[in-house]
Amino acid sequence: MTPASARLGVVRFPGSNCDRDVLSLAQVAGYQADFLWHLDHFNIQDYQALVLPGGFSYGDYLRAGALSARSPVMNSVRDFAKRGGPVLGICNGFQVLTEAGLLPGALVKNSSLRFRDGWVDLVPENKSSFWASQHSQWKVGGQLKLPIAHGEGRFYSPPDLLRQIEDSGQVWFRYADNPNGSLANIAGVLNETGNVAGLMPHPERALWDWMGSEDGRGFLR
């Protein structure tokens, strides 16, 4: 698969607000990218990768990500993921993937009970089969600098599930300095097969030096 011919789908829910930003992330990596509307199914053969962007889908009503996880487009996303297709959830997209049962755990209100914007350092833990797998920082001691912006980003799971996540190598990234009270400093997790990944920080907001970091570029190969 050469990126030039590869197509990436950006799932667009009502209230998504990083949808256009994720198009930039895909384009910087040389992908063709287009939007997938929340009410439509799509042909999973047409895409090599999918991203669920950040935002406040369905206004975050009920629980962040809860309504989106049950929208029609998610049937196609599920099929795509089941066949091993790479799916990435960023911020609200991560919340949607946990609500949809595609990723373990849950994201609850920050321990400060406030929205938090800022830069964080991430410690890479286990590799995804696709996302950021070729990232230059993926070496012992390497860290990634990415921005966060969320009110409900505290990773939570019951103790036995947490043990299972840890034991099966599903922790993707940890915060070097925990900004929101996440259990075990978890910033991102993987599914068991490593093709579905989710994280609270925003790789698409770190594409150029002038943004403050370029570490988001390596998320797409």
Partner: protein
């Protein structure tokens, strides 16, 4: 004057004066009021809808009746860069390479004091609608806030609620908040200020959308949230002073839903880009009334409206309530009949109903029907063009608080204390922990600063910077007005409201390109308030002309008084500036040791500080001085582009010493070796700046060549902030103190 009780009650409810009523009846050719046998004025022939419509559109908030004659002066500042969009929701500036920006600042003071979260949130929502209704995608927001004393009863709750409200709304709709200013001063105790600014971008092929209704037979389409009883009479509330009973006004405050706004932004920009709409306006103050009458008046047409078709939340709503509701997230559009189905299907895709509620007609009347009955039949000009204009009494500005000797402005008692061994250190630590000086990180880190991928510098910097998507140029955003200077002298304070933020961006190499204002004042019926208002407008015009940065939009908020006490008059200013690229912008703080620290002064005017016992100034700020400041600003801009300039900063409130210590935010300290006296360290001077420069750069010579007077103060060093042997503070301790002060006071409320 004696009035029948019926008439007296109506005039009070609708906040219309007897003279205004006489004018209304004359316009409508209705019988003038007559006196009965008891010499009382009898009730008149106006139905509730007519009363309501005049009440809203002739209110100060909608009509600018006390300020209009002065605001006209801003027209002289407009130059060739301003895209002609007169009378529109926001001003437009052409940046010269195809892209145009739309920006405006607006107040939401009254609602935010009553209900801080929703008041601030809907303030952000309202200003965003002013931007995207012009066809521009909002790309950044800023806020200007003034609160009372940090320790007084409700103030913590107000700060917390306002900040959460701004974040709650702005973050959801995906517009980054990249800069702002927060002041604390006892004179805002009973009347806080919440001013929100937003900037939108029109890219090369995108057209400016206008609001003038056109085309007989075109359909009037309502889109967005359903109309509820919230905010009925909001405009009239905002045109009134607070009394002891302001809590009773809570039901007048609107409730916002940022989710709906986000859908509106995307769908409206889509219909505008596809050229499906003739005219569009948001339903802001006075809701459907102002949008319909203003669109008709601007387009010189009439409009027929059927209120039965307006989507309502409550079926018991009466015609006047539907007309005056300030329910949020609603827009009114004029659409050609054959395009209506396409418009409706596009909105439907976004889950929004677009409903035809009326039609444009040639007869220049707005006719309002409800339950089959004609409730009003009014010439739109009566409400808009013929609205009263008041020339409230005022006197030419005369500065009074003049001092001969700058040292007399200093607090003599304090000076004595500062001579003590630990005096300076104690004073610095105490100041650094006050809300006014503490790091505002706990506030702005609740705002999303990077959504949209244009942010090069967010709210943790002095100047917010965006990188424009097509041309890669830098767009800077700053807000200004230092209330304690307004309190000293309105002319000086208003000059500074424009100059200080312009200096800030000039230090980073940006050229101010345009201004917006948000004029927060007390009761205009008091001459001392009107004097300050007129002096402020004149000062803004004067600086705008010198800077060649036109005033393209604005807002006036009068009646910021509670129980007879007026706020400090506060003309908040938003400045937008441009730079050819965003490489090598000087930083704001000390980031590396071993660099020279310089001061550049233009010591023309000294002022007292906020807490000083005596209030006043020393020096001259006449027209020639303002010219020389603007000239000086240009030279500083040249100097900022010198390679080797690593950081710079305007000296701000509290004087040189406090400004310098704030630069250790970067984690590096400095040692001041120059023989500075205590009064030199504390004196508030307009204008000084601090520069951090590599030693190899002949900074002093370059500055002198530009006619500036450089003074080497010392150099940056690791770990310690030192003033000769007078004061020594650990950088780490200071950072902790300054970062945590505000956090403590608001986090206790979570």
């Amino acid at each position: 004057m004696k009035m029948s009780s019926a008439l007296a009650k109506k005039l009070q409810t609708y906040r219309i004066s007897f003279a205004e009523l006489q004018e209304i009846l004359k316009l409508m050719k209705r019988p003038a009021p007559i006196q009965n046998a008891h010499q009382e004025w009898d009730d008149v022939q106006l139905n509730p809808v007519e009363w309501a419509v005049f009440s809203a559109l002739w209110s100060e908030h909608c009509s600018y009746k006390s300020s209009k004659i002065h605001l006209r002066k801003f027209a002289q500042t407009l130059d060739a860069s301003v895209v002609n969009a007169e009378g529109e929701n926001a001003g437009v500036i052409d940046l010269g390479q195809g892209e145009r920006i739309v920006f405006k600042m607006e107040s939401h003071n009254h609602p935010s004091f009553i209900e801080p979260y929703q008041g601030a949130a809907t303030g952000v929502g309202g200003i965003l609608r002013d931007i995207f209704t012009m066809g521009a995608r909002p790309i950044a927001s800023a806020d200007y806030l003034c609160f009372g004393d940090e320790f007084s009863g409700r103030m913590g709750l107000l700060v917390d609620g306002v900040v959460r409200g701004i974040g709650g709304y702005g973050n959801s709709v995906g517009v980054p908040t990249i800069t702002g200013q927060t002041n604390f001063h006892p004179r805002f105790e009973k009347n806080i200020l919440v001013n929100a600014m937003s900037v939108g971008l029109l890219r090369k092929n995108e057209k400016v959308a206008l609001s003038a209704a056109k085309g007989v037979g075109n359909q009037v389409v309502y889109v967005g949230a359903k109309t509820g009883k919230d905010g009925v009479h909001g405009a009239a509330m905002a045109s009134e002073s607070f009394d002891a009973n302001s809590d009773a006004k809570k039901p007048n405050v609107q409730i916002g839903d940022p989710y709906f706004e986000k859908l509106l932004i995307e769908s409206c920009l889509e219909v505008l880009q596809q050229d499906l709409v003739v005219a569009i306006q948001d339903m802001g103050a006075a809701g459907l009334t102002s949008s319909s009458f203003e669109m008709a008046s601007k387009g010189q047409v009439g409009m027929r409206l059927n209120l039965d078709l307006v989507p309502v939340r409550d079926s018991t709503m009466q015609a006047d309530e539907i007309l005056l509701s300030e329910s949020q997230e609603r827009m009114l559009m004029v659409v050609e009949p054959h395009k209506v189905p396409k418009v409706q299907s596009l909105f439907q895709r976004w889950g929004l109903d677009a409903v035809v509620v009326g039609e444009i007609q040639s007869a220049r009347r707005v006719q309002i029907y409800f339950h089959g009955e004609k409730m009003a039949d009014l010439d739109p000009d009566w409400l808009v063009e013929n609205c009263p204009r008041y020339s409230r009494p005022f006197e030419p500005w005369k500065s009074t608080r003049v001092f001969e000797n700058p040292d007399d402005l200093l607090d003599a008692e304090l000076m004595k204390v500062l001579q003590q061994p630990m005096g300076l250190k104690d004073w610095l630590l105490q100041k650094s922990s006050q809300a006014q000086h503490a790091a505002k990180t706990p506030l702005y880190q609740q705002y999303d600063q990077r959504v949209g991928l244009l942010t090069a510098r967010g709210a943790d910097h002095d100047v917010g910077v965006l990188r424009l998507p097509d041309s890669a140029r830098g767009l800077a955003l700053t807000v200004g007005c230092r209330p304690w200077l307004m309190e000293i002298d309105a002319r000086l304070g208003a000059l500074d409201a424009v100059l200080y933020p312009s200096f800030q961006m000039s230090l980073k190499g940006f050229v101010p390109k345009g201004l917006t204002d948000c004029l927060n004042f007390g009761n205009p019926e008091k001459i001392e308030i009107m004097n300050e208002f007129v002096a402020s407008v004149d000062a803004i015009v004067e600086t705008s002309l010198l800077l060649q940065a036109p005033v393209v939009s604005g807002n006036v908020s009068f009646y910021n008084e509670t129980l007879g006490q007026n706020i400090i008059s506060t003309p908040a200013i938003g400045v937008v500036g441009l730079r050819e690229d965003i490489r090598e912008l000087p930083e704001d703080v000390f980031l590396a040791p071993g660099l020279d620290v310089w001061r550049l002064s233009h010591s023309a005017v000294f002022t007292s500080s906020q807490s000083a016992p005596k209030m006043g100034f020393c020096g001259d700020f006449g027209a020639s001085q303002v010219m020389s400041w603007v000239q000086w600003m240009k030279q500083l801009r040249l100097l900022s582009q010198l390679s080797g300039v690593r950081a710079n900063q305007m000296v701000s409130q509290g004087g040189l010493l406090l400004s310098l210590v704030k630069m250790v935010q970067g984690g590096v300290g400095c040692k001041l070796t120059a023989p500075l006296s205590v009064s030199d360290l504390l004196q508030e001077v307009l204008y000084q700046s601090v520069w951090v420069v590599e030693k190899s750069v002949p900074f002093g010579d370059r500055a002198k060549a530009l006619g500036l007077q450089p003074e080497l103060l010392g150099q940056t060093q690791l770990d310690w902030f030192e003033v000769r042997e007078k004061c020594k503070i650990s950088v780490q301790d200071w950072q902790k103190l300054n970062q945590n002060s505000l956090r403590r006071s608001i986090e206790s409320l979570a």
